[in-house]
Assembly symmetry: D2
């Protein structure tokens, strides 16, 4: 079992994470990890915060001479914009954000006490965790990649950017869709035997935990709703070389709650960022009087970044499923078990 916890506020000292359960003997490539953090900061439509933060991860623990020890891995990313104790109180919650409910739930009278943690900056920690997991998956030839499919309804790159420009000009934000593809996943991760072992359920869970994700689809996704079964189920074939394989992949690589060996393909819809420059109607949580919502620094569009976060959480979940399926406490042991299985199911 792999597990992690994260901590950190947007304007606190740092974003941190502890990743527990990673086998010993995994080579840690810090440069590759930082590329992931960098990728999270990019994308057309990002706001000013991204110029302030040049995210770099420090590995605090769990690694010795560049190799994992099997002990928990401590990850640390500094916040340049550190001034949490000096922030001015805010009482006008933003529609679409955690502000209002967060205050009700936790008894806060300053929405900063909510938004500091509810901020998407929290995903830095998850990308750091995912970056370690990507290194783990790489050892098995598994890779996870995201791609922006649409912004504001447009699927053409130039038109997408125009939508973003339009939103920015209107002090507005805009939503979109990205896809997520995992290649090289062996058949048999996840299971149908219990609801919470289903790989797609776990992936849907972690993907929906990314701020602003409002829809998750596997393979054909919503397209299945208007289809007949014979037209969409992926017929099964076999060859000595490939073992069992498919000519289509409508299922998105998952059948019966398990990876089936085909690429895992997911599509996520991201709503427009909740902070908008020309604010919506709101209510002061203390005086209860009508007001306009707070305006914090914001991204006009962060679909590309959300895609990178999604890669990270998927990388974690797949790594977790690998460790569960193959056991093992060292990379050698996990690999040995993995290879024996993969060899076995071809024959």
């Amino acid at each position: 079992m792999l597990r992690f916890l994260t901590a950190g506020e947007s304007h606190g000292r740092c974003m941190i994470a502890i990743l527990e359960g990673m086998p010993a003997g995994l080579k840690i490539d810090l440069k590759e990890m930082n590329i992931e953090l960098k990728r999270r900061q990019l994308g057309y439509g990002r706001g000013d915060r991204m110029k302030i933060e040049g995210d770099n991860v420090d590995i605090l623990c769990g690694v010795k001479n560049g190799m994992t020890l099997g002990s928990p891995i401590g990850l640390y990313v500094k916040n340049s914009d550190f001034r949490i104790d000096d922030l001015i109180t805010l009482t006008n919650p933003r529609p679409g954000h955690a502000d209002l409910v967060g205050c009700l739930k936790y008894g806060h009278e300053d929405i900063r006490n909510v938004l500091e943690r509810a901020s998407a900056r929290e995903t830095v920690s998850r990308v750091a965790v995912g970056a370690v997991c990507k290194l783990f998956l790489e050892e098995f030839g598994i890779s996870v990649l995201s791609e922006v499919l649409a912004i504001g309804g447009e699927k053409n790159k130039e038109k997408m950017n125009k939508k973003i420009d339009q939103a920015r000009k209107n002090l507005d934000t805009v939503g979109g869709i990205f896809s997520l593809t995992a290649v090289g996943v062996p058949p048999g991760l996840g299971s149908y035997v219990a609801a919470d072992r289903r790989l797609n359920a776990r992936l849907a869970g972690v993907l929906s935990s990314i701020p602003a994700i409002k829809a998750v689809e596997f393979g054909l996704g919503t397209g299945y709703a208007s289809a007949f079964g014979r037209a969409v189920h992926d017929a099964i074939y076999y060859s000595k070389d490939k073992g069992f394989y498919r000519k289509t992949n409508n299922a998105g690589g998952i059948e019966g709650g398990m990876s089936n060996g085909e690429p895992i393909v997911v599509r996520c819809t991201m709503k427009p960022i909740a902070t908008v420059g020309k604010p919506l109607d709101s209510v002061d949580i203390v005086t209860k009087k009508s007001t306009k919502a707070a305006v914090e620094r914001y991204d006009t569009c962060a679909v590309a970044a959300a895609g990178v976060v999604a890669e990270s959480v998927m990388a974690f979940e797949l790594s977790n499923a690998m460790v569960e399926k193959f056991g093992g406490d060292s990379m050698n042991e996990v690999k040995r078990n993995y290879k024996a299985y993969v060899k076995g199911i071809k024959t």
Copy 2:
């Protein structure tokens, strides 16, 4: 914390569940519970199995004189079609089902060893669990209801049925969409502080764990992808009567990973059932020769039934979130804590 485990094979003796963590002092209405099981069996397009099984739940443990004791609740539904040890071996896996991968993963050479548990009959247990949870939620004025929105792309009841007739005639199956609405949920279930505490993440997880569900959308869902922020975020208002409220509910009742007091609205896409009467190409898992897939008894369309299962898993997850938020070991205690909170957030 509430938790449950289920067990049972499609042609085994029974489907069972243990639900642990339910507070003491909840009145159990067996009749209402059996209505849920009955509702799961209905819907235009169901197959013959539904005529065989007249599902009724027996409460084996955890209830005394019609009240929960606080101890684990044992639930039992008999299978009329019990003959698991006499089933004939099958080696031709159905595309879209767990058959093939299940055999690879668990080392089976008979796909029956997979399909008996991978069968949607397993959801009987979950509906039984959900039926208890619905009784629990009722005590707080919370209800969960599903509705079929579309079948085979059609949204009109008559046209839906025609699609099902067409599928049946072609020995085929057909997919669809249902919505799920939870009314009466207080603001503040779930949280943004950790990824796995987000209510929408948990709901997406459990809804995706229902067999054949391939997409889950909250509120506007995929519609968010083509929207600007100012047009879709739900402005915040306040009145002495209602407390904070919204005039729109695009968010589907969840902001920042928490219920916001508006109805929770989710939409699920179900793929066509994987078993089809005119079978697709497959491969014999033993001989590796081309063949046609197995044909088991099947439903032409089970979207309505999946909606009932979805109500059940959502009822469980909301109950769990209630118990987590309000603590308490007896209904009196949970209610007392709940009322004090609800009163507090209005003022």
Copy 3:
């Protein structure tokens, strides 16, 4: 990961359990399982209930033609003395039992609502679960056995029985000690990397969860308190045949939170049963007036039975640690991974 839930009240219809995560392809020997249930009923000093209940386990699900499917296993033991809805209200809690606090916690006004689940009859479910786990461990040459070491301070079999006779005559009960030994456990189960991965912590947890267990000791146990380090730590030796080995086993087979390959040896102290025939002072929970505690059917001494329960929970925990360490979904796969590891650590 293996997990289980149990349910059942002492005078309810049955005691049940669901065991989830057991690999496929394990041969189930029902006769051996029932021997475990029978062993739990024996021991000098047992009460009348044991004459009423001839415990036999029914396997409701998860097994087909005598082999585990990989799906959850449902276990059922009938209660002959089934009359839960007709029991007369009791309001005089027994000191040492869950009666009083259970009523405060769950808001009950009848201690029966507590004692029906708090009864040691609940351990029937755990023995049934443990019996499956013992079959699993057997496949790896691992066995777990308990032995009564002392009753009422006496270590000689005859004197032990006399203590029990004395207690019975005085309408009293008597405590004792049993040991628990697991042989054949490979080195490396559990871990030091996180507190909750330590094997001894897990074992101490599950052993302490057995009713009436008040002390758990590993190896020398409390004897370590008066020892110097050089005298008690188990020096390390090596031979080609045995690999690493020890000439002493003061550590009780666990170092650094991990099995070290030597027998795991634990000692548990059981308090005298809380129900006594000549009852102690108590208070009526409704009237708050002084009274004598309730007298239910009781065992004068159940140390031998507790040992069998302890074997069961230890068998579960070791099986869980095996599945975690070696992964695998079928017995073949677990064994393949296990053998490769065991071979590897010898060289």
Copy 4:
């Protein structure tokens, strides 16, 4: 639910922890927290490391202007002796330590890769976590305190120190016993309804997870083994002032897996530290030749320190049980629920 993860190697950069689930609005007193860390470093018989490390905790996240936010709390303690990447390889494992098995399990060929995490320095993180939990418990009038009862078999303070002097002179180490008492715990934490909800099982688990703890006893503990029931069970009394109460506390404050309102009293036996100055027989893990075990800096006796660690893990577990029982996301809410319950059970 409260949870935490820790990370950190003995000679790594730092020891860290993330504590998740702590309610909002708890005042953090850093000075009190550092007193706990300091207490962990004291006690007669400590080694040189304690002179090097002047442990002080930094709160990285989760706290704003001295109050918890409800978000995860990041805790950081610097290691002064930071040189993990420059340590010389060691291949001679210490009997009684994790060295040998850790290498077998994780495939290490340098016992440093094990001992850096298996070191008792890891408990710094747990004391930091426990220090937050103590602040939480204080708000409910709950305190946890440890006391050294015996060293090397001696119970008199002067004789204890002599035992330690004797051990030090002989380049040896010595074990002992400490007690742990929690005062102010309300009745009803934990439960009998499921094995893993029993408070004593949870406490036995976390206490056994402290390095070198080999026995855990509740109340009379092993003393119960030679007792008759009528002589040791704590009769129940009632007064308007106190509610239900006892005149004796042999049960150590726990009946039926639940706190009963009396002080929780536990006794732990600590084995002598495994590192000894005059090393025991060992085997080189690479050459397999006989050798003497490694000698690292060590404590002659750390029973007092282990007591402080035990207070910490107990404080965590009790806080967790409080949060579970009373729910709530802010201190105000937890307290409101707590007070209503406590008031209710008196009448």
